[in-house]
């Protein structure tokens, strides 16, 4: 989990926030509330996690509970990976 969070944070800092300061993003920060990610940014994050973690995200999964913070994302990815391995 920790590694997933680190990877996600690095991606968001470099490609969404354009900031190399590690303190600019907490794992719990809500992307929507803090204006970190807009509707296009979400799709960039989805593209990234699909490729990086080899999962497939369905349209109905595009909801804040899955995507709205590093923690939410990590939980979502973890459960997807878990589901995949069970199949």
């Amino acid at each position: 989990m920790e590694q997933i969070k680190k990877t996600l944070k690095k991606f968001i800092l470099e490609n969404i926030l354009f900031d190399d300061n590690d303190n600019a993003l907490d794992y719990d920060d809500s992307f929507l509330e803090k204006g970190i990610i807009d509707s296009t940014g979400v799709l960039e994050v989805v593209n990234f996690i699909e490729e990086e973690f080899e999962i497939s995200v369905e349209d109905e999964e595009l909801v804040p509970e899955n995507l709205d913070s590093v923690n939410n994302l990590a939980r979502f990815i973890h459960s997807k990976k878990g589901n995949t391995s069970q199949v």
């Binding site: 354009f18 929507l32 807009d38 296009t40 940014g41 799709l43 960039e44 349209d59 595009l62 909801v63």
Partner: protein
Amino acid sequence: MCGIAGIFNLYDEKEISMDTLRKMTAIIRHRGPDGFGFYKDKRAGLAHARLSIIDLDGGWQPMHNEDKTIWITFNGEIFNYIELREGLISKGHRFHTKSDTEVIVHSYEEYGTDCLKYFNGQFAFAIWDKNKDMLFIARDRVGIRPLFYTSVNGSILFASEIKSLFADERVRREIDHRALDQIFTFWMNIPPRTAFKDIMELPAGHYMTVKNGDCRVMQYWDLDFTACDSIKSEEEYAEELRELLISSTRLRLRADVSVGAYLSGGIDSSVITALIKKYTNNPLRTFSVAFHDEAYDESIYQKHMIEYLNTDHSEIRCSYSDIGSIFPDVIWHTEMPVLRTAPAPLYLLSKLVRENGYKVVLTGEGADEILAGYDIFKETKVRRFLEKNPASICRPLILKKLYPYLENSPTKSLHYSKAFFDVDMSNYPDRYYSHVPRWDLTSKIKFFFSDNIRDELNGYNKFDELSSLLSNNMDSFDHLSKAQYLEIRTLLSNYLLSSQGDRMAMGNSVEGRYPFLDYRVIEFCCKLPPNLRMRTLTEKYILKKSMNDLLPESIIARTKQPYMAPDSRSFFAGGTLDYVGEMFSENALKRCGCFDVRKTKMIFEKCRKGLTIGFKDNMAFVGILSTQILYDLFVERFKADSLYDKNISNERIMEVA
């Protein structure tokens, strides 16, 4: 079509440098490669670079009246010159040429500055009236032809392009950071401000007089939607629109050279091409731009029209690298930062036209503005509807319907599209309702501005300047008309007709003509009931109705696809283009000083890796790159002398006093 330039001494007589006039003309010779003409006395110097289209032998400029007390240098066309000429002859005026230029001179003699209201055309001109000791410069109603001016050491300099003003070494070349703020919000500069400090643009529909050292800028025309009526039947409106478009197309085929047409695959250019075919004897020659990348390509629809009308057609197919490699030339001509690469393919298209021996093309520009074709008008309607009916069960369906053609549509995820559409309007007056989401999104790219620029812009309110461009009347327009008015007064005049219009065509010595922007057509559309312009979410409803029998079903039934070109991807196909790497180098970024080096380096990396999919990052990248190029070309490396060919072969000096 041509380029004009000139110098006017504000207060007293002093020598005007012929050398400077020549440099000012030579640098815009792409606008008029067929010959240069000059006039000068101790008060005024007028210059003209000519692209001969009407009266090939007699149309040399600067031109004068009977007793040489009035001189003109003119860029553009007065399409109704034949009718105006007859009227002026009956009033006793004597003509020496068959040109439209001479019609302006005599109209001015007859009506003074009021002459402008008689012209149906696209023009920018300067008249030096020795009798009144007055300079009179003017631009057409919607700003099809450009005109810039500045003052230096007691003289006014004017020209078709900014680079011509820079040919006078006394003129300062510095990026205007307030204009940068405007462009990185509205996609355009708000005239009179331009991308360069102290260089002014005469706004569309305005004229300026200079007399006794006093410059007065006056508006002579504006759009008026207050008189919307619904007296006639839908059929009558459709018929009237068709008649007007036939007339405006016919007028725009007046030329002593062959006239071609652009075919985009959309309904607007298809209408114009079909009208030429059906109602004129002009041999139909068409041109189009296609893309290797299918996401942007409309060639399948272009093919429908080519086969339907059986036109003699040529096409240029653009790759990513075509756009990337031509981009610095594009910025040389736009003379302002742009947030999209969309002008670049149009530059390649006009090159194709010129290579085929054509100097004039008709296009469909303007229809989306006057007949409500753009998505922004639909989006506005949807937002207003949802605001009133927040619980509407249709909400998901409506949102999905908005951008069916976008791969990465903001409406793809409903949860996130809510954030996109529920815009906080509390800081804006209702007149800006339609455009606030676009401006808000675009403004986010100012994130990349350097701290210095941010400090400098602190407290600057660009909305005051925007407001000065707009009529107070607009607050009484209906919702749709308000949005259309805003779009026309901002983006049509100051981006579409300039960066994507005049500059890209004239860069290759090609003149664009726009039947939808005939002022009679515009004024007619302003009076149409709004629901004939847009019916529910069907754009350009009345146009489709009136042209139903002229076009194939596939074109009429098509959902509008906005014209776009690949953005940041164009600069990294097959490796980073050398000049792009240089423009984003720490050194170059620091010299220009407009952007934060650290952040800019990071977006460069993101684009280089191909991770950029959204509008915002693409706009940021293209905006930064074009600003860097602008600085490099016009501030750092500009040398008028190196662009000045002293051996001008085809030159006429009309008079030197």
